[in-house]
Symmetry: D2
Subunit: 286 residues, 4 copies
């Protein structure tokens, strides 16, 4: 992560000769100083992925002009592309239920500016963390979810997210399954932390399943939310060793430590525009 | 692992007050010097597990007498138990196909006496490693397996295993599925290395499945062979990080490094009588 | 960790025949139900270590009587020993400076009762976290440390620790070096998290040293505080992979994630009486 | 690793605007198809590093012509550069003493073409592995090293290396310290595996040192050999968890598993021209 203001270009396109040359040629033509660059060719699908950071003040124009001038290059290469500005903080809405570990962890990183983001609000189906969140000066919305009010509740979540102009929604152990409609509204914008090493233990109580199965490692998975948990694009995963004396409750406790770390890593990759979704997979330019 | 000769008592029994006291009291009564001891209570099932190493020359009797005298203690506690003698080398029959990594790894450990075992023979459905195995002075048996001769082939494997009085069969990337009859004949005696982090990717070509699923870590699992891969007792597992540039072939290559290590660790636990099977789970006293 | 009330006996003594038998015989004689037990013989030094959890209500007497009756057994074996009661919460005083990660992490664990302890106060040489700590209902003491007032400041820290009857002092990235006198006053009671994989990078700015040296992994070490950092008893360590693009600032950020996890693990082992100090080493019965 | 023949350009130069554009522009101009590319800017030193794989048959010329045409580009950028041809197998001379694990591991990888190299000979100060090496059809040279004949012995090693036109020398647990002259003759060409997590435990018997220090993880380091072990460029490192029951002998055994894996990974990076040395550090484009 660089200190100076920079623009991050991320793009994918059909692979062909000369992609890097055309894109970096365009940047060099304008005296753009490349801070970091990553490229990946998916041989199987013939698709090309890239991420380039350009120092903002090395360019003779502002972001809007950068986009305008780059458009013809991108169109010639049939690119999906975007350019982000490091000076514009991402607006991250956090959803939480009753478990504290991911919330405390995210707020610690936000408080110290390790995560240099705006958190315009926290939404929860419980009021457990109202005081804690508000003490940090962040608005807290209690949106209860019951079997009967789901449509209404998710509509309210969406309304709040739109109202605060959220970029990213983070499910920080939010123990409700979002509606397919809500998932579909924000593809590649909703990050969840699942408490198993996917594709293992997709169903309920994964640590209990892991205990019954007798595995020697348990894991956590940060992924973009889509309607089908079996096909979610995985952003980051990690595991921790367990042992025969460990009860399901011990596993829950161990699991918390990897859940919060994996979520934080995945979120950082996302916020720094390091993640490019490619079907049910991801390219992560770490 | 100790240098002096020792006896290893492993046992499990219903949990109750005073188990350790009775067992270690018996040992102390005969001036037995305990080198290492491990105990585990499974709270859920109310079952107790233990492993105790006693220095052989601290006892006033030999192994047969140890067993005779211990029997009443074990019966009073309704134990499943066994006592092994570190001076009696285990006889390990290795089964292999065409991949070299586990075989080279096991023979390196055997050659240097890191694994202090007998390898009375290697059996393979191919003759790829005949010269290599025989160079080490180990008999090699080529037992081809075809769709038509399976019953006959596994009968031959079993005959060879019996003939050399094998204790343990190790499937060192043996790419055939043993018959249910053979599995049933040697419960807790056949170790396999599966090239995925079970329960993920149970079927064929697990690395290819992992590639298609877009996971960020791949794994290997050492387990006792039973008829149902979904319920095998897992002895050891580990994982390795992969990344978006890695092809299925790269994963196969990375996977080899954890396969051989996980198999070697699991085999060592087994040979040192550190593994107690408990239904579809294991207690591993490392 | 068990739910029922239990007593934890930890002890070490010269190794000899029959130690386990005598100790567990004593427990069994009183119908004590052993929940968990661990034993270790240090062959080199001829010293024996143990930790036994006994269910409180299985015994016909209370803790004081347990101690009285056990004393002769312990004396005959020339033991260093103690018995802790799981119903008595440990009193942990946290010292912190200006970095948030360990403090947030510890308070999250305390808030959810994952760490079932009392935090009678937090002490800091800065007032950065006064509001945050007090919001949690925990007294906060600002004890500035300057080159001129060190003796006085540490005397105040000690006075506060005594006043609240602290059991354990945790230096949660407290960026001051305690006086030798304070270290000597509480051997085995002060836990620190050092931001390197000891014995590497003992001096100042370890991440910067790691950057200059070009290592491929960085680490953190939880240890008991003694006057000499080169000889501290290490309780827990872990590492995380870094890469050539990572600046010293990136390493500081990665390091935070292992520092807080390693500190929390080490603290838990300590609080559950799983750590026995043995010279400059530890036995940790996980 | 790609199947088709390709050229690998590795280079470093002072950082400036337009480096990628110039280099990839040159490649694109000749219709070069880029398979893989990696770039890194060292902000502190202002130096730029790159590695680019170009499909051989996409270019209208052969390697010699590629070099000739690229030279002016490289000179304008004041580059240190080289271009390797994937069709030319590297010639790796292995040096070994009496420990088997790295040798077996390397020969297994060579035998299966996982490492697609020539091993023109193995050199050892003992004759332990003569038969094993020769069985593989590889010449074996026994060059004893005594306190008195060191200069002569290393001259012989150098003569053999030159005679077989070696590219890379691998010290696969070769328990002799090469002379400064030999180190200086082949900078960036001699890889060693050191059995500790450098910079810890630089001296003799690192596992024994680790035991005495009471660390909770032990490690291994693959590095380029230079005269000063404190400043060697580190290529790869890894660690493994140990525990209080582990003796120094157990650590030696655990250590073997990471030594061989870390050496094999480091060697692969080196052979695929993924390692660029930068003072006492390395850039490794994995």
């Amino acid at each position: 992560m660089h200190r100076e203001r920079f623009y991050t270009l991320t793009a994918s396109c059909p692979d062909q000769v000369g992609i890097i040359a055309q894109v970096t040629g365009f940047i060099a033509e304008h005296q753009g100083w490349v801070l970091e660059s990553s490229f990946h060719a998916d041989d199987v699908d013939g698709r090309y992925f890239m991420r380039i950071e350009v120092k903002a003040d090395s360019l003779p124009f502002m972001l809007a002009e950068f986009r305008t001038r780059f458009r013809p290059v991108a169109e010639a290469l049939r690119m999906d592309w975007r350019i982000a500005d490091s000076a514009v903080k991402k607006r991250v809405v956090v959803l939480v239920s009753k478990q504290e570990h991911c919330l405390y962890d995210l707020l610690a990183r936000w408080q110290s500016k390790e995560l240099d983001i705006e958190i315009p609000c926290v939404i929860s189906n419980h009021d457990t963390f109202k005081g804690f969140v508000e003490w940090h000066g962040i608005p807290f919305h209690h949106v209860p979810v019951t079997p009967d009010n789901k449509a209404q509740a998710y509509a309210e979540v969406q309304r709040l997210f739109e109202e605060v102009r959220g970029d990213t929604m983070v499910l920080a152990r939010y123990m409700q399954i979002l509606s397919p409609a809500l998932c579909a509204a924000y593809p590649g914008q909703i990050l969840n932390i699942h408490h198993s090493f996917l594709p293992s233990f997709v169903g309920a109580k994964p640590y209990h399943q892991a205990y019954l199965r007798g595995v020697k490692l348990i894991g956590a998975t940060c992924h973009y939310v889509t309607a089908d948990l079996d096909q979610v694009p995985i952003v980051e995963q990690d595991v921790i060793r367990i042992d025969h004396p460990d009860s399901p409750e011990d596993m829950v406790r161990y699991g918390k430590d990897i859940e919060k770390t994996v979520l934080a890593r995945g979120l950082r990759y996302h916020l720094e525009d390091r993640v490019l979704v490619h079907g049910n997979k991801t390219v992560v330019f770490r």
